[in-house]
């Protein structure tokens, strides 16, 4: 796919950028990876989980990152979700270099603008479904009653209105992931990042979850990035980015799904 507006980066690579004269905020990428590398230390030698990745995520897009195990999907999702930092290269979130943010500022950005959905749901076991969904709002500082009302509304939206008081051990895998999705949506984030959200679900539930995320994300005009190793789920998305050994090998946009 040919980028519409581009320039050469410092390393000579092509990236999509905002024109200096372009005042249209909507054209600014939400996420921009510019020659990003990420290493993990494996004892003596570092392993490159991402190698020189150039990647742009525009507002409102629905993107699937796919590839085999160890290809760097989770690493890319972690970086996009601001829960990790690149070792080399530049990462911009909504035009702001992430390297310039303090840990406290990154935490605020995650809370207010990013919704995260995890492979293993990661619900707090001692809290009910409602209380789990309230968490991002309470971290933000919203009063209890308002947080409670909003969380109940979002849980209703994902079809769990009758299970507000159930703790995670009383919910099925699919229901737990719905709670996690509700938690990700409750703050009306700009970006939802889901790292293999269906890996622990059966095929039927996996399909339902992807459809739900797509539907609720669209209703909020949120940008959606999810990773999967299951090619069957790719049919739900228009843009598919393939990772292999830490590099992007394909970045295709298909007909509307």
């Amino acid at each position: 796919m040919r980028p519409e507006r581009w320039k050469y980066s410092r390393t000579g690579r092509i990236i999509i950028v905002n024109s200096m004269a372009d005042k249209n905020e909507h054209d600014q990428p939400l996420i921009l990876f510019n020659d990003v590398w990420k290493y993990y230390n494996d004892g003596s030698a570092g392993i490159a989980a991402l190698r020189s990745v150039d990647f742009v995520l525009r507002k409102g897009e629905l993107v699937a990152v796919w590839g085999p195990s160890g290809s760097g999907k989770s690493t890319l999702c972690n970086l996009a979700g601001l829960i990790d930092e690149p070792c080399r290269g530049e990462l911009l979130f909504n035009g702001v270099p992430v390297s310039e943010l303090t840990d406290s500022q990154r935490s605020e950005k995650r809370n207010q603008t990013i919704g995260l959905v995890f492979q293993r749901f990661n619900l707090v076991p001692v809290l009910s479904a409602l209380e789990n969904v309230m968490l991002p709002l309470q971290i933000r500082g919203l009063p209890y009653s308002r947080a409670q009302a909003r969380a109940a509304s979002v849980l209703d939206e994902v079809g769990l209105g009758g299970m507000l008081d159930n703790r995670p051990d009383k919910l099925s895998g699919g229901q737990q992931q719905r709670v996690a999705i509700a938690r990700a949506l409750v703050n009306n984030p700009l970006l939802i990042v889901a790292d293999e959200p269906t890996a622990n679900l059966d095929t039927e539930n996996a399909e339902k979850i992807i459809s739900l995320m797509k539907k609720t994300g669209r209703s909020r005009n949120a940008t959606f990035l999810f990773s999967t190793h299951d090619e069957r789920l790719l049919s739900h998305v228009k843009r598919r980015v393939r990772l292999q050994d830490g590099s992007i090998t394909q970045d295709e946009t298909h007909r509307d799904q």
Binding site: D103, R110, I139
Partner: protein, 416 residues
């Protein structure tokens, strides 16, 4: 804040056994500090009651200047004359805090039953003053019977009390006659007949074989003087001791009197040594309790953090800042501290009640008679211990929580 308290409470209940052990450690530590603190308070209170009220020494004692340093060698040189005594009484009774001014004279000499003689040391005080002072004692010591026999009387100056050891040596009982012999202030020999009205246990074991209790008139007759060696001052409130001491110390020189004013703490034998010894023992107990509680809480919180690493990673991913993670575990630890302290309060109260109900008696060092063993619950100690346990609990959680808060979010999420 509600969310964090909720998470903390539910996690404490979820790990009920582990939480219970930690709460028990805190409770026992709390009780140990307060039971020993209550015991030391009882010891100090006993010494105070004994010194001020039961022995009739009062809160303050006025001596002639130099008496405490050189008076033992030549006590007659430091007697307070009648005129000086009148001036002193005038100054003291002007103070609203003073309820009694009691002139006293120490005497010593030989006591004989007609067959054998032995030395005696005597304390000459007006019997009515002794009765008044002893009547103001509070607590269980106030119920003690301080002598066997008849009470001494102001108008029967020859009626005396013998310590039980002295009574045994001379084989003198109530109603028996004896003679006291000494040299007067002028150096002349003098002897007076006396009748044994009562026997008593001396305040110190070392004095139990030589102590004599006489009226001031008898002591002055024996020494052939109208002077006194000391003036004891009894106050309405124990708390006024030091302030009144200062005022008297400032007033007496202004009246042309060279006097020393000593408070009961400095005058009681070995009071400061006993206090320092008990404080050192308390410090040891405190340090041991401190270490045990810190280790217990750190162990509990560390295990909790390890089990909840993924949860910590999730909360951080949702936007909770590092301080928020520390706060979460500090709240959990504080709740353990509060639960432990409240439990400790009940354990302390129950222990005190049990010891007091058993009415145990014991003979402390240097004492010659058994006294009841009590443990006092001191509200100030309880409050301070509560605050200390709370602070210690929070502090103990900070170190492991800080480590958890600084862990990489990705590593925390990947924790199994």
């Amino acid at each position: 804040m509600i969310a964090w308290i909720k998470i903390a409470v539910r996690n404490i209940l979820k790990n009920s056994r582990r939480s219970l052990y930690t709460i028990a450690a805190i409770a026992l530590g709390f009780a140990a500090i307060n039971i020993f603190g209550g015991f030391t308070n009882y010891i100090f209170h006993t010494i105070q009651t004994n010194q001020i009220y039961l022995q009739g020494e009062g809160h303050l004692v006025v001596f002639k200047g130099g008496y405490l340093e050189e008076g033992r060698i030549d006590p007659h040189k430091f007697l307070i004359s009648r005129e000086e005594l009148e001036t002193i009484e005038g100054i003291l009774y002007d103070l609203p805090e003073v309820v009694l001014v009691s002139p006293q004279l120490r005497v010593s000499g030989l006591i004989s039953n007609g067959l054998v003689s032995t030395v005696f040391v005597g304390h000459g005080v007006a019997p009515s003053h002794v009765e008044f002072t002893q009547g103001r004692a509070r607590g269980i010591l106030a119920t003690f019977k301080l002598y066997e026999g008849r009470k001494l009387q102001d108008d029967i100056s020859y009626g005396v009390g013998l310590s039980s050891g002295l009574s045994h040596i001379l084989d003198l009982r109530e109603g028996d006659q004896a003679m006291a012999m000494t040299t007067t202030v002028d150096g002349m020999m003098n002897a007076l007949d006396m009748e044994v009205f009562q026997t008593f246990e001396a305040p110190l074991e070392a004095l139990n074989d030589k102590m004599l209790r006489v009226s001031l008139d008898f002591a002055q007759s024996l020494y052939d003087t109208d002077s006194v060696a000391q003036v004891s001052v009894l106050l309405a409130d124990d708390e006024d001791t030091l302030s009144v001491q200062k005022r008297i110390t400032d007033s007496l020189p202004a009246a042309g009197l060279d006097m020393e004013v000593v408070n009961w703490m400095d005058y009681a034998p070995d009071y400061h040594k006993v206090r320092n010894m008990l404080n050192i023992i308390f410090l040891f107990i405190f340090v041991i309790v401190f270490i045990i509680i810190i280790m217990s809480i750190i162990n509990t919180i560390s295990m909790t953090i390890m089990e909840r690493t993924r949860e910590i990673g999730t909360l951080r991913a949702l936007g909770l800042k590092r301080f928020g993670v520390i706060r979460l575990f500090a709240i959990e630890s504080a709740l353990l501290g509060i639960a432990g302290s409240v439990s400790g309060l009940f354990v302390s109260a129950a222990s005190c009640w049990l010891v007091n109900a058993m009415e145990i008696t014991w003979i402390p060092p240097q004492f010659s008679m058994p006294i009841p063993l009590e443990i006092n619950l001191v509200p100030a100690y309880l409050s301070l211990t509560f605050a200390f346990m709370l602070i210690l609990s929070i502090f103990s959680a900070v170190l492991p929580a800080r480590k958890a808060a600084n862990k990489s979010i990705v590593d925390a999420l990947g924790h199994v």
